[in-house]
Structure formats: structure tokens, C-alpha cells
Symmetry: C2
Subunit: 410 residues, 2 copies
Amino acid sequence: MIQRNPGFANLKAGYLFPEIARRRRAFAADHPDVRLISLGIGDTTEPLTPHIAARLAEYAAGLGTLGGYSGYGDEQGLIALRERIAEVGYRSMVAPDEVFVSDGAKCDIGRLQLLFGRDVEVAVQDPSYPVYVDGSVIVGAAGPYDDGSLGGHAGYAGIRYLPCTPENDYFPDLEDLPENGLVYFCSPNNPTGAVATHAQLAQLVESARRKGSVIVYDAAYAEYIRDPDLPRSIFEVDGARECAIEVNSFSKPVGFTGVRLGWTVVPKELRFDDGASVNADWNRLCTTVFNGASNIAQHGGLAALEPQGLNEMRVLTDFYLGNAQLIRQTLEGLGITCVGGDNAPYVWAHFPGRASWDVFAEILDRCHVVTTPGSGFGPAGEGFVRFSAFGHREDVVEACSRIEGLTVGP
Amino acid sequence: MIQRNPGFANLKAGYLFPEIARRRRAFAADHPDVRLISLGIGDTTEPLTPHIAARLAEYAAGLGTLGGYSGYGDEQGLIALRERIAEVGYRSMVAPDEVFVSDGAKCDIGRLQLLFGRDVEVAVQDPSYPVYVDGSVIVGAAGPYDDGSLGGHAGYAGIRYLPCTPENDYFPDLEDLPENGLVYFCSPNNPTGAVATHAQLAQLVESARRKGSVIVYDAAYAEYIRDPDLPRSIFEVDGARECAIEVNSFSKPVGFTGVRLGWTVVPKELRFDDGASVNADWNRLCTTVFNGASNIAQHGGLAALEPQGLNEMRVLTDFYLGNAQLIRQTLEGLGITCVGGDNAPYVWAHFPGRASWDVFAEILDRCHVVTTPGSGFGPAGEGFVRFSAFGHREDVVEACSRIEGLTVGP
């Protein structure tokens, strides 16, 4: 019989969000009369804004006409969209042929790992978005999971976990970066909501260059940054073009979580140790095992980057940031220490000395609110819970009211 | 500096269709007054049919309303769509939880190779769709390319090429199947247009089971089958559930090449040598490095599988088959031996003793018609050219008229 990719045997059970969905369904089955409110998965809840929804519908209807029909597009995306992303999203700091449109950041992260193969050493912020690590395990760049029960550090063999905790102000110790490795870095951070400063990113870039490592910079939440001094792209930092790839998404800025649209920037300066161009290999990968994002979604993306779309994007992200403020104020009112929520749609709440899944279960059982246990994002997330600010306002208000009754303690 | 995935260094230059596009652009630049007609890439040209286009537009507009908005869906696809594919597409021979909706067959083929890792032996029909081989090279299941100039067989090291030629009626010698390997099999075939009979598929399944190999059955053109005795799915054959995965697509049946929607069926009986379920690993892969097809596209897929959509699908595929008949009659009128075009949208034309790229160039230069050189699909495609039946009728008629002036000969 055929062999299994050994990476799958190494994956521990259940990707985080399906596991939360399972527990949520189990709770709902046991409590059919309870109305659960989810502040768990970061799933957008508000309707698409008018300009963007109208353009999607208009383009889709046009596909039924001879003049409006379009078959395969370039796998890398519509040229107009690549140009607009380069111009509007990056103030022309990157070129259109460095922008590759995709069906979303998660999918691109999966594909990115194919660029570097299984011999590369991978480092992630701890806590971090689970896909970085799970994807590395699948391609064989990481080995089996050690749950820490034998006294070792919990985590996958071969993954370098860079703790981001209150002690280091959520910025990792750069001495821990691998040599000639791959460093996943997310800012505004999922799950902590912390945002790296320009000075911190400059240090990160300097360290990566010195060590010969490549940064995969996940900027999926950049549109939530309100502090004008905080960088929205790694390419605002000198030297980043020599060491960084940036992944981004329309999911959280305009609610395209279900519509599916993202992009990745691969600068032409980026090289492998054999001198080959990373941009060229990424182009080859995208044209070979990908076939472009949906043309309907891409026209929605074009609308989002027009002046009216950008205004709508601002209103929508302001709305979710308003939710975040309510959540953070509620938690802080209970004496719970939090970060995030000011320049990110996540609030990261600290429950020192407690297990994340226990706090998750307690908030589910007592408040009927779904959160995300911090330990699901990595060993250093233990003792934390993530509150997502994606929700209807009345639900967030109701969730906050329920949480106000929570007694916190170890 | 960071290492390159060695698979990329092994890939030979240029995926086939970008190379054709490049030559086409070069010709157009040199001949600005010439109107080229493409019978090259299999790209749909006719507008989406009314019922399907209306549903896409309606769903997209609804995303701008509170009641119609939807964020993340299940990564595996809408349950209603999985059910409908199982019921309508497979007459319930497969279960809904064996159907995984995707953004297209090409993307799924790329992901499928991750299930089996790099130690599996890969076999392909020769000629075949280039993605099977290129994807295998990227994951390391195949090695460097040998162009045959030193006297060896042209092809990638580690790939088992199964010639499908006039001599064997386009069905491979099953003695050549690998042990415990992966066998890509496409019917109706791209590029040859040949369709395997039920008896042939039964032999294929029997051989694969005996050898412990898994068949990846590409049925992307199944909707073009008109002969009621020909199988439209590998699952019509007893025993296929123990050895086959089927990949399929909405691209060619309803013109979703740009909209992006496909699916893969992974039966629950399928096991790896360690006893693990292939269905479970595929589910893990899809939930980890994929995030579902666009919800707009999925609602278009639902419309396509309603009675009115199915009628429209039939009319559209009949139209392209009409084109195929015109092309085949024209070529046969010139004394050129052809297969395909009757149950497939491709006509595979034989130019014995000539190099495919030379014939491609001659038809481009003299008829101003773009085709696809057979050698781009594998060593056994040398001496053939593929004509795609995707085109507006007046373009196909004009192309046929130009081709009638072609003098054929070695």
C-alpha cells in the first residue's frame, strides 16, 4: 500500500478552530436553550460595504454577457489589482510584479513553505497563528510533537519557538533567530494584538539579514493600525526587501473571509543560497499549482482599493475596533490584564496561573461566550485567552455584560 | 542564506501554457495587424449561462445585507454543495463527507501531492496535463529532467511515463504501474481526448489494487462524454473506492475557469500503509492550508446542479463539442489522423515524423492559429498537436477555414 507523508503522523490532533467548533457544538447540544455568543474565531460578521458588494454583483452578472465574460486570468492576479495594491497598499514601495494575488493568506502560507523545502529551520512567535507550524510539519520541516509531559519544552521538534510574553513586551529575543532559516512574524499580532514598532522591525530585519534568514511577515491585520507611528508593512523598514516576504489579506479589512482574496509580496532582491530568485520560484509555484483567485473576488478587491472602498474599509475596521474597546474595558474592569484591541481586532487577556482551556471552558459554561484558548496558539499562550472583536455590536455588548459577572481567580 | 527547495532547481523552464503565451505575444508584437485565433489553452470563451450568472450576482449582492452575509465557511465546502455533488454528480455512489469542494482541480492536484510525500513513485499517462509531473517535482517525488539528448528516455527522473499512443489505443500498459505508487489518470483525457471504457477502468482499478497503488483520477472533462456506455467517474467501477481519488471541476462544464470551483472525492475506504485514513489526512490538509472556495463561486456551483443549471450545462458543453466536430472534420479532411472531440473538447492531431513545436510554429505562422504542441504534455506527445474546442463559433469556423489551406507533410 501507498506510504503516508510522515508529516501527517506528526501532526497532533485537531487544528485549533475545528476543535473549538466541536466543543461549541457539544455545548450547544447539551444546552439547546442557551444562545451562545462567539468571540472565538476571528470571523467577520458585518455585511460587505455597499460599494464593494455592488461591484461584486455587477461583475458576476456581467460574466453572463459576451462582453463581461472572462475565463482564466493570470495566475498571479489581475494586473490592475497588482498595480493598485502596489500603489495604494505600499505607496509604490513594491512593484506590481512583486505582488501575487491569492485566495487568501492561509492558502499562501501553505504554499510558501513549499519554496524552502523540509530542511529549513522554522521559527515562530510563540504564541502564533497555528498554520505556520502545522504547515511546516506537513512539509517535513518540523518533526513530532512533544507535549512537555516528560519535562521538555512543549512543541514540535525542529520548530524554534520565540516566546512573546508580557516579560518581553511581546517582542521576541532576536538572539534566538535561526541561521538561514524561516521566521514567521505577525504584526498586528494574531493572537496577542500587539504591534511591533518601527524600531523593533528594524532590529528584526537587521537580525534576519545578519543570520541569512527570511522573514514571512503576516500583515493581515495592518488595516487595524490607528497609531500613525506604527508600521503597516515590513517594507517600511530599510533592508526588508533583502530578507522579507509579506503576506496580506482582504479578509479582515473588508470582510472577505468567505469571498477569499489575499496577496503576497515577494521582492526581487530576495535570493536563495544558490543565487536563484525567490520571486521567480514563487511565480513558478503560483503558475504551476495555483490558478488565480476568483475573478469575482478580484474585482471586489479592485473596488475596495478605490477611494469609496477605502472609506468603507475605514468605517468597517473602526466598527470592529469599537467592539475591541468594549471588550478590553470590560476585562480590565474585572482586573484582568490585557493587550491588543487598540490597533488590532484581538484582545489578549491574561489569567495567570490558570490553564487556557479551563478559562475557555469556564467562560463558555458560565457566560455562554466562546473565546479561543491561548495555549492553542503555542506553549507561551498558556494562561491567556483571546477575545475576538468580530461580532455584531449588540452581541458584543451582551457578551461584555455576561462577562462582567465573571469572577476571576486561579 | 536560506536554502532553496531543491525541487525548483529540477523543474525545467517554463510551465507549458506561459511558454505558449510568451510565443504568442512575441508573434503578435512582430505581426501587429494579424488577428490570432487561439485553439491553444483550454480556456472557456462563452458567457456564463443565465441561471448560474443570476445566482452568482444575487448571492454577491446579498453579501451586502445582514441576512445574506457570510464569513468563513467550512473549508471542505458548503454542506449543501457537497450533498448535491454526491447526489447529482455521483448518484450517491459517494457520500457528502467524501466530497471536498475546492478552488479548482489544478490547486487540488498541487495539494494532493502533499498527502504522499516525496518517497512515493509517481506514474503519469504520457502525454498528460503538466501539473501532475511539475507538482511531483516540486515536492521532491521526482528528480532532474533528462532531455534525452544523451540517449536516455526524455523525462524527469523518478517519474514513470506510461505511453498512450495510437499503438495502444491511448490506454497504457498496466504492467508498467508502480508498486505502492501514485498513478495520475485523466479521462476524458487531456490532451488526447481519448476516453477510457468501463472495461479499461476495471483493469486499471484491478491493477492498482494488486500493486497497492493509488489512482488520482482526473475527471474534469466528464461532462463532455456523450456515449452513454462510457464511464463518467472511476467510482462506477467496483473496487475503485479502495484505490482511487477523483478530482473534478466546474471550469469546463459551466465556464468557471475564472470563477474557480472544483472538488475532490476521497473515499473512506482508502488507507495508507500504516492504516491511516487518506480521507482524514485530506480533511486535515484542507482545513490547515486551505480555507474553502469563494462562497460566491460555491453558490454558483449550487445553481449549476439544479435542474435549470444542468440543462444549461448540457447546452454549453454541446456547443463546445460542436466546435470540436468542426475542427476534427477539417483536420481529417486534410488527411490528418485525429482522436478526441467526440466525448471531449480536445482534438489530438497526429503529424508523424514532425516535431510538435515545429508544427505549432507552422500553424501559428501560416494560419495565425494558436495550438498546443503535444510534446509539452510529455515525451510521447511528440509528433502531435492539441486543438482546443473552446472558442466562439465564428472564430472556430474562421480557424478551420485558415487551416484548410495548410499543406501537411514531414
